[in-house]
């Protein structure tokens, strides 16, 4: 088991260009499932590849288990990686794919067989041993890739969007399985994804990245409820957090905290807004209402409200309503730096 640490890690692909990874300081915890989350081009995969040793950092240090590994090859780092494409060796059978890392280690044959049986039984794929990768379904390929990764009991697991090639239904079950699996083997894992649902569901902690830099590190609840800046606030959550730019502050609140009349009154200390509803969407379990703020400092700003369908309030399209947010649910951001500020009042 190992802890990964990066210190002031930078990667610049082309001299003169902005960095793909900028000053990343990161420290994983023992046995943790750490998720790197960000839109495409945010540098999360580059960061993972640098930890794996597939990409050389421009500057900074990488430590695995307290040891500086900058100059070590991937094979010397004691890691295993699952690629987005799974990168199974197409000309080798499933069994030979799984024992490949063991053979490279020079493990004797009987021990290899035992180890492969163990890894395959954890994932329930022993019956596939003689097949070639092209004869497998997407889900089976993913399991083979996982088996190949765990077979030599690595100290660190790196996963690069391993679920993105699965169809939506399979993805949900594979996600849960992967999560359980990691808990069972207890190996530290670093998981890259652009899917916020995946990140929230799986991560012990989530590292939100944008433009090569880490924006926030925290538990899923931390990054969702206490976003460090406007990027994190809007990247997480669907629909994203409402951000209302005012004269000297940006006011933010989640759509599910923007509540209609009849519910808002039950809140303690709260802020009321006039809400001109333009149209609503009925999504079964909930309703999503789109509209603009009417009156006050934020007049004309668009906002979204998300309310459970169980609130049987009539909110017709085109009507003007008074919505409210509990004061504790309102976040304030500095318009210059876009970071959270400690201010606790809204402009009149």
């Amino acid at each position: 088991m190992a802890v990964v640490e990066t210190r002031k890690l930078n990667k610049v692909f082309k001299r003169g260009n902005v960095g793909a990874v900028v000053n990343v300081d990161l420290q994983s915890r023992e046995g943790e499932f750490l998720v790197l989350l960000g839109p495409s081009g945010s540098g999360k995969t580059t960061l993972l590849r640098m930890i794996a040793g597939l990409e050389e950092p421009t500057s900074g240090e990488i430590l695995i288990g307290g040891k500086l590994v900058n100059d070590l090859t991937p094979r010397e780092r004691g890691i295993a990686m699952v690629f987005q494409s799974y990168a199974l060796y197409p000309h080798l059978s499933v069994f030979k794919n799984i024992v490949f890392p063991l053979k490279a280690q020079g493990m004797p044959k009987e021990k290899r067989l035992k180890q492969a049986e163990w890894a395959a039984s954890l994932l329930g794929i022993q019956h596939l041993f003689d097949r070639k990768p092209r004869e497998l379904s997407g889900g089976e390929r993913q399991r083979v890739a996982l088996a190949r990764a765990i077979v030599r009991e690595p100290s660190l697991f790196l996963l690069d969007e391993p679920l993105s090639n699965l169809d939506a239904k399979l993805r949900a079950s594979a996600r849960e399985e992967l999560e359980q699996f990691q808990k069972r083997i207890g190996t530290t894992a670093i998981y890259v994804t652009h899917d916020q649902v995946e990140a929230m569901a799986m991560g012990d902690r989530v590292v939100v990245m944008s433009q090569g830099a880490v924006r926030q590190i925290g538990t899923p609840a931390d990054v969702y409820d206490e976003p460090a800046d406007t990027f994190v606030a809007t990247f997480l959550g669907s629909p994203p957090m409402n951000l209302l730019p005012g004269p000297d502050v940006i006011v933010g609140f989640r759509p599910e905290h923007f509540l209609p009349p009849g519910v808002a009154e039950r809140l303690g200390e709260h802020i009321s807004f006039g809400f001109q509803i333009s149209h609503g969407e009925y999504l079964g379990a909930e309703r999503v209402l789109y509209g603009t703020i009417a009156g006050g400092a934020f007049d004309g700003r668009t906002a979204v409200s998300r309310i459970p369908s169980t609130h049987a309030v009539s909110l017709p399209d085109g009507s003007l309503q008074t919505f409210a947010v509990a004061l504790g649910d309102v976040k304030f951001f500095d318009p210059g730096t876009e970071k959270r500020t400690s201010r606790r009042s809204i402009p009149a």
């Binding site: 597939l54 295993a80 490949f100």
Partner: protein
């Protein structure tokens, strides 16, 4: 309208058909007809003699030697091409300064007319003016008054024609292998690196096996080409010394065209057709498999 459409396709490929029939089909059929006849240059008579020509060439030691030489020439040069092209392709895939220039250099022997290249080699391997001998003398590796006769001693001559032919065939094989190599997804060698495989394990257990279909195409194509080509040998040695570098195509040329025995020349030249047809079948099958995987 529809009527015209129906003729458009055939009309478009007709020139190719005419070309192939006139320049390949007709000579091939004629070679076959000659091989079972007693045709001679300058004679207009045609008598069917069955397989007599084939029986006769099989009893001819010169033909048997040419047949053997053809196999030595083809197999040795193709093995060398295979090794060389793999090394070149693997190194030219890596990014290094001047890679484009090196790729261009490697291709030169293929784009330069083989006759010009071979003439250059004729000088390089000349008995008096050979630069190779000169270098060897300077390094005191051979006696100044007893330099190797590169094209004048049976073993050296065979070695020389094989090396020059390898030089000529190498670029084409390299380009094919390079294409096969770049078609391997980048993830695969990276996965091998993370899995702990070093350079040799990755190369011999992952990269080369994955390139196998395309390597087959390159080798079989090269073998067929080598079996049927006479340029290098004709220019460098004319089959000499004492017919020790004679191969099937040169033997057929000397017997059939220069020796005026059309029937014998035809029999020699189509002797290997069945073998080459089988080889061609495997080329096509490999090419198909290379597409699928």
């Amino acid at each position: 309208m529809i009527r015209r459409q129906r003729w458009l396709g055939p009309a478009m490929f007709m020139p190719a058909i005419v070309y192939i029939v006139a320049l390949v089909g007709v000579p091939f059929v004629m070679a076959f007809l000659y091989s079972v006849s007693d045709a001679k240059v300058g004679s207009v008579s045609y008598h069917f003699v069955g397989l007599q020509n084939f029986v006769s060439i099989l009893h001819n030691p010169a033909f048997r030697r040419a047949l053997q030489n053809s196999f030595v020439f083809t197999i040795t040069s193709q093995v060398l091409v295979l090794i060389g092209a793999n090394i070149l392709a693997l190194s030219l895939k890596e990014a290094f300064p001047g890679r484009r220039f090196f790729r261009f250099l490697i291709l030169l022997p293929w784009v330069a007319p083989v006759s010009i290249g071979s003439l250059g080699w004729k000088w390089i391997l000349d008995s008096l003016y050979s630069v190779i001998s000169w270098v060897l003398v300077r390094f005191h590796l051979v006696n100044q008054y007893d330099t190797p006769m590169w094209l004048g001693e049976p073993k050296l001559a065979m070695m020389s024609v094989i090396l020059v032919h390898t030089w000529h065939m190498l670029p084409f094989a390299t380009v094919i292998l390079l294409a096969g190599l770049t078609a391997i997804p980048k993830d695969i060698p990276e996965a091998a690196a993370v899995d702990g495989a070093g350079f040799f394990r990755t190369t011999f257990q992952i990269t080369i096996p994955m390139m196998l279909p395309i390597i087959n195409v390159a080798v079989l194509f090269g073998a067929i080409f080598t079996f049927t080509d006479m340029t290098v040998i004709y220019i460098l040695t004319r089959g000499g010394p004492y017919d020790t570098t004679q191969v099937i195509p040169t033997e057929a040329f000397f017997a059939g065209i220069l020796g005026s025995d059309l029937a014998e020349g035809a029999a020699i030249s189509i002797f290997l057709v069945p073998l080459l047809v089988i080889a061609a079948y495997f080329v096509l099958r490999s090419a198909h498999r290379a597409e699928v995987t």
